[in-house]
């Protein structure tokens, strides 16, 4: 954590980090202004910025009789798209991980269940979630359901595999110590095996969220008509390259936000773990 460092150090750190991106953007801007690049292929950063602002800003003029000020401020297309994408990621992830976690715990803890289900898992696991697109449309039509189905498949396998190996890799010494203290099966599972496996499970969850985020963009290009993935594909039809790039940057920021959130959650849940400084 940087809480111990002063603001001047943080400022200089920020400036050092910002130097290279600033130079790249400046060169890109100058080349565009000198007319070296076709703006349809690669628009100037300033054009992207303007477009980004338009994408973010409310579409209609403020009308107090229709809605409150804050609601109006948040009514722009970008926020609606980001919300739609985030909603799909969260719901899809919760379904996928919510099924994978108990299944993984059962497979990791019980040899019989593992032997029974592992062959099926091994067959299904290598199929990329994208390959489920035709089937998902056939089963669920268009709209949110096929998108959420694809996302939950993307989240399912990383969480499942990591949960299984987390449970299977619990250090035998903890099991022995707990048995010595008199722990029965339920206590062993809830107070020893589950917490010992959490570092693996959380790694799986983080990979799962990452996969879900990739799948949401793809599925929005196919099955729905809002969301960040849909918007950049739509922009291409109008040759709005500035909007495509603004959309991509928004996707990047949302991804960064999700990953930072997951990292915070990890650090909170694993504050006991050796690798993490308190």
């Amino acid at each position: 954590m940087t809480s111990g460092t002063g603001w001047s150090e943080r400022l200089s750190g920020f400036l050092r980090g910002a130097a290279v991106p600033a130079v790249v953007i400046a060169v890109w801007q100058i080349l565009s202004m000198m007319g070296y690049v076709n703006p349809q292929i690669l628009p100037a950063p300033s054009a992207v910025l303007v477009r980004w602002y338009q994408y973010l800003a409310p579409i209609e003029a403020y009308d107090p009789s229709k809605s409150g000020y804050v609601a109006w401020l948040l009514s722009g297309e970008l926020l609606a798209d980001a919300y739609a994408s985030l909603y799909r990621v969260v719901v899809g992830f919760l379904i996928g991980a919510g099924l994978a976690l108990p299944l993984g715990l059962a497979m990791g803890a019980t040899e019989r269940v593992y032997k029974l289900l592992d062959p099926l898992v091994q067959i299904l696991r290598p199929i990329p979630p994208i390959a489920y697109i035709p089937l998902s449309i056939l089963w669920f039509g268009l709209g949110n359901p096929p998108a959420i189905f694809l996302i939950s498949i993307g989240a399912f396998f990383p969480v499942l595999m990591n949960t299984i190996s987390g449970v299977r890799h619990v250090d035998g010494i903890y099991i022995r110590a707990a048995r010595n203290l008199g722990a029965g099966r339920a206590t062993m599972f809830l107070r020893v095996i589950l917490p010992a496996a959490t570092p693996y499970i959380l790694t799986g969850a983080r990979i799962g969220v990452g996969t879900a985020f990739i799948v949401v963009i793809v599925s929005e290009m196919i099955a729905v008509n809002n969301g960040l993935g849909f918007r950049i594909l739509e922009a291409r039809e109008f040759f709005w390259s500035d909007k495509i790039i603004a959309g991509m940057l928004s996707i990047g920021l949302l991804g960064l936000g999700i990953d930072t959130g997951m990292e915070r959650l990890n650090a909170h849940l694993l504050k006991w773990h050796r690798g993490i400084e308190s």
């Binding site: 010494i173 110590a177 707990a178 010595n180 203290l181 008199g182 020893v192 006991w272 773990h273 050796r274």
Partner: protein, 263 residues
């Protein structure tokens, strides 16, 4: 005589990869209530195997082990175990580790809190009660592990080289503390070590083991007054005798390894 730990003709043969290793052969020992007994021997002579048979982690393949007149069938909180690797639960704070055994037993919350507090105080851990094991030194961790089994109030403590990984000074402090605890609670302690000095410093009785198959080579009662002083002539005489016994087994061990390597 009412021996608390009664081992009768215990043997243990490991079968792994088609090979058989006879780790213990025909061990017969009685350990009476309140005795501090050390198992001493070179690495690989079967000390842990014997301790694990008493703890119930791995039962003997022949003979029997009885505790308080009942055959040992599995591990249980009547025989608290302290491991060389501490085996603290890293996701629990110091206090939670100590309280865990009592929670399993479903003791009332107030009693758990009170017991944990008094153990924390006894082992000088009070200011670390909310820390996680990763933030503690090795000596502190082993103190927590000792407090964790003391919370069980078991009459038997089993300790497998508990101080083996500690530096000399910390080790000495913990030996003192263990004696203090033993004198206060009069537990029966079965303590594994390969340090001759440690065994003389601590034990009422030292069981020297042979190397493969592990048997009891010599059963020595230590009558020196406590606190024992490594400068004392009696201490040194015993040390010479034990060194002689352990060295014989150590040499057999080395010869064995040379033979294995040559094969």
């Amino acid at each position: 005589m009412d021996a608390q730990i009664r081992i009768r003709n215990a043997g243990k043969v490991f079968r792994a990869l088609g090979k058989e290793v006879e780790a213990l052969r025909d061990i017969t020992v009685d350990i009476p209530n309140g005795q501090f007994a050390c198992l001493l021997g070179p690495s690989g002579c079967g000390k842990s195997t014997l301790l694990n048979a008493v703890a119930g982690f791995s039962l003997p393949t022949s003979g029997s082990v009885e505790v308080d007149g009942r055959p040992v069938e599995g591990p249980g909180p009547d025989r608290g175990m302290v491991f060389q690797e501490y085996a603290l639960f890293p996701w629990m704070t110091v206090e939670q580790n100590i309280a865990f055994g009592l929670e399993i037993r479903k003791s009332p919350a107030a009693e758990i809190r009170e017991k944990a507090s008094s153990l924390l105080a006894m082992l000088n851990l009070s200011e670390f009660r909310d820390r996680y094991p990763k933030d503690l030194s090795g000596g502190m961790r082993q103190r927590v592990a000792i407090a964790r089994v003391l919370a069980l109030d078991s009459r038997i403590l089993l300790m497998d080289e508990p101080f083996g990984a500690l530096d000399a000074l910390t080790r000495h402090n913990l030996q003192d503390e263990l004696l203090r605890i033993w004198e206060a609670f009069r537990k029966t302690i079965l303590f594994v070590t390969h340090s001759i000095e440690e065994s003389i410093f601590l034990a009422d009785r030292i069981l020297v083991m042979t190397y493969r198959p592990g048997t009891i080579k010599r059963d020595i009662v230590v009558t020196l007054h406590r606190p024992r002083d490594p400068g004392d002539p009696g201490f040194n005489e015993l040390k010479r005798e034990l060194t002689q016994l352990v060295m014989e087994e150590q040499r057999r061990h080395e010869r064995d390894e040379v033979l294995c390597a040559a094969r």
